[in-house]
């Protein structure tokens, strides 16, 4: 790799790459993201390589192993260009046919195409699949054109053109452009990015830091991982532009240790940038010097909070500190520090390249651009979804997500453990920072977990409390003790031992925790409880008053029983029951001893005749 001395050399390199790519007749983008890896895409990749070699097609067909395409549920999946053919749920055995039929003879293999669950129709073309067609994919769509370990793919897609542009701009003009775009922090806070940059740029101090917060700890959210894994150069380019605007010479990517592929790809990308002269001293002959290093987190949800993250980088326990002094004045090693989230950084090159107005043309008045959500739970199409800010929850859940598997969507949980649950009656709400907060939830980092009638809302509240109690650092009293008291009450409710006045007590303690906790973890911790009481009060009342769990989840309030009309006495449930609670002679009706039953549900999964019911 030659060292790029100025922007003109970069343009020449880009032309060479584009020219080289014209030699291929087909490009096959196979998703190698974490979701597809879990679905064994590795075996499909090796089968494809082997078949390409066997058919001597390596020089004609390019196999590109990319980051996440977003439709994780359908993995392993591939897109064949130039025809934009989409094949999903692949196995190694499908590969020879793909080469002989589709690549050599342009024939579509129906069996491998996606079936739209609402119409049962096959959709062979990626861009026509409703899941993709109804999104505004300006960030995540870049993944499918990029091998994250190959800088040339990023450069071919006009990568580092925005950097070249920004190197010719005055620092203040870059900041003004970001301000005008209306970009707000994608990590959850929604603070205007341009304003943050302005404050750090204005802060006194020779040494300044840029940090990329990739400590994505929300269970159920993985968009930051997918960007860093699938397109690390977009984040690096964003950080370079930010550094130039703020006057920083050192950057840090703080990434969760649970994301090994993101750590690996970001590391490779940084090395390639250094070799190409895109990081280091006197970048592209502009006189601007900047470098980035990776710091791996060690697994603590609270360390995603900015002051805790700084403590963690400094080798201390990752606890938050009171924010009387902002990071923009005294951050890492007491120097002005600017921290933004992965998705925020990835937006920067696009804004500089296409202009603030282009970015601001999407979204609502106060929330501009797009946001990626991780759509999961009881829904047909799960995966990463990128939509313009202001898109309604209805459109995301029904048009893109295809609605619930069981038929009815009861609620959607947004914003992770700090967010809340919104009922179906609120699905007309536009997804933007203010609208969701006013409704008692939040955009947060972008988790969106869909729940149906088999999800108990009291149990969901208990689940988030368990998580937050585990992750609370224990430094301040309201969070440490308040959350445990709230959990005790919630547990009493799920066990059918609570009284009606417990609801008021829950609300009272929640308010104290919100108001008096030190950091955002504690301040927002009662949200899951408060939002479920606000919208699903009748479910709480069923637990407390009628001693019933309407979703049939809370173990103390449910009972498994065998229907004598259906049971044939095959003995399958008796053999599988780990507690030995089922009795009955062969070919005789079986019976469950309620005093021994642990309510694990294995008997119900095992019975082929559906003779076991849950009451």
């Amino acid at each position: 790799m030659e060292v790029i001395k100025n922007p003109e050399v970069l343009s020449v390199w880009r032309k060479k790459i584009l020219n080289k790519n014209t030699f291929y007749t087909h490009t096959v983008s196979l998703c190698g993201g974490t979701g597809c890896q879990a679905g064994s895409c590795g075996t499909v990749i090796s089968a494809f390589k082997k078949e390409l070699a066997r058919n001597k097609l390596e020089k004609k067909v390019r196999l590109r192993v990319t980051g996440c395409h977003g439709f994780c549920e359908q993995g392993p999946l591939m897109i064949i260009e130039p025809d934009n053919i989409f094949y999903c749920r692949l196995s190694p055995g499908d590969v020879p046919e793909i080469l002989t039929q589709t690549i050599k003879n342009h024939k579509i293999i129906e069996r491998l195409c996606y079936t739209d669950p609402s119409t049962q129709k096959k959709c062979p073309v990626e861009s026509k699949i409703p899941f993709y067609a109804q999104q505004s994919r300006i960030l995540i769509d870049r993944n499918k054109n990029t091998d994250p370990s190959d800088i040339e793919d990023y450069i071919a897609e006009n990568g580092y053109a925005a950097l070249c542009k920004s190197l010719k701009m005055q620092a203040n003009d870059i900041i003004q452009e970001i301000l005008k775009s209306g970009l707000r922090g994608r990590g959850g806070g929604g603070y205007p990015t341009g304003k943050k940059w302005q404050q750090t740029a204005a802060a006194a101090g020779e040494k300044k830091y840029i940090i990329c917060n990739a400590d994505e700890g929300d269970p159920g959210a993985y968009m930051d991982r997918s960007i860093l894994e699938g397109n690390p150069h977009s984040v690096i380019e964003g950080m370079m532009i930010g550094a130039k605007a703020i006057g920083a010479d050192e950057g840090i990517i703080y990434v969760r240790n649970e994301y090994p592929l993101a750590v690996l790809h970001a590391g490779i990308a940084l090395e390639q940038c250094r070799n190409a002269g895109l990081l280091g001293k006197n970048i592209l002959g502009s006189g601007f010097s900047f470098d980035i290093r990776i710091v791996r987190g060690a697994g603590a949800f609270v360390s995603g909070e900015s002051s805790a993250l700084i403590a963690s980088i400094s080798g201390k326990v990752g606890e938050p500190s009171p924010k009387d002094v902002h990071l923009s004045e005294k951050g890492l090693e007491q120097n002005p520090t600017n921290m933004n989230n992965v998705e925020t950084w990835a937006n920067i090159p696009l804004i500089i390249e296409n202009g603030a107005m282009w970015f601001a043309s999407r979204g609502t008045e106060r929330s501009k651009g797009t946001k990626i959500f991780a759509l999961t739970g009881k829904i047909k199409n799960t995966g990463l979804v990128e939509v313009a800010m202001g898109t309604s929850l209805k459109k995301i859940i029904y048009d893109i997500g295809g609605g619930s598997i069981s038929g009815t969507v009861k609620a959607v949980q947004t914003g992770g453990p700090s967010g809340g649950c919104l009922p179906a009656s609120k699905f007309d709400l536009p997804v933007d920072f203010e609208a969701l907060s006013e409704a008692g939830s939040m955009v947060g980092s972008g988790g969106m977990v869909v729940m149906d009638e088999n999800t108990c809302m009291v149990d969901v509240a208990r689940y988030f409390l368990d998580f937050l109690i585990d992750e609370s650092c224990g430094k301040c009293v309201p969070c440490r003790i308040g959350l445990s008291r709230i959990r005790e009450i919630i547990c009493r409710i799920t066990e059918g031992k609570a009284e009606m006045q417990d609801l008021e007590l829950l609300e009272e303690i929640s308010q104290t925790v919100s108001e008096a906790s030190l950091c955002a973890l504690g301040k927002t911790a009662p949200n899951p409880v408060l939002s479920t009481i606000r919208y699903f009060r009748e479910e709480y009342i069923s637990h407390i008053h009628d001693k019933k769990c309407p979703a049939k989840v809370c173990k103390s309030l449910i009972k498994f029983s065998i229907s004598p009309e259906i049971c044939t006495g095959c003995g399958a449930c008796k053999r599988e029951c780990p507690a030995g609670a089922i009795s009955g002679e062969k070919k005789q009706i079986h019976n469950i001893d309620q005093s021994i039953c642990t309510k694990c549900g294995i008997c119900r999964e095992t019975c082929r005749l559906s003779a076991i019911s849950l009451n």
Binding site: T34, G35, Q37, A38, G39, C72, E73, G75, G217, D218, P219, G220, A221, Y222, R225, N257, E258, Y259, V295, R296, G297, A298, G299, A300, F301, S303, S312, I313, S314, G315, K316, V317, G318, E319, A374, T376, G377, K378, T382, G383, Q413, G416, G447, V449, M451, T455, V460, Y463, F464, F467, E471, C473, E576, P578, T598, C600, G601, I602, E605, T606
Partner: protein
Amino acid sequence: MDNSLMQIIEKFPRSRQNLIPVLQAIQKEQNYLNREAVSAVAEYLGLGVAQVYGAASFYTQFRLKKTGKNIIKICKGTACHVSGADNIIDAVERTLGIRKGETTADGKFSIEEVACLGCCSLAPVLMINDRVYARLVSSEVKKILQSYS
């Protein structure tokens, strides 16, 4: 003093910023952080043993006990929870006769609970060593575990 331990530690400059990277490096080589490792790191970086222990016990990545041969990571993410992860956890605990955070007496398995494996679209999931098992039902757990013994 264990020589191999010092070799790992001395690769890092003596700066507090290296505390977590040093501990990560030791755990990668030695499976867990024992008392000797914690004291050696404290001495090397000029910190109190309590400060190093504080950090090691705060972050969930660090283990202070040796693990079994196969590490089972059970995802307790939101998507897994609403898809029935609790029943999967129960089935694993029942089959192995140990609780979360424990290791079987024969040293074959340890159970860890993790916040999110990021495979939310395939919920509920668990991971054994590097392999992910997706879209699980609790009646499958026994067979999966048997394939490791």
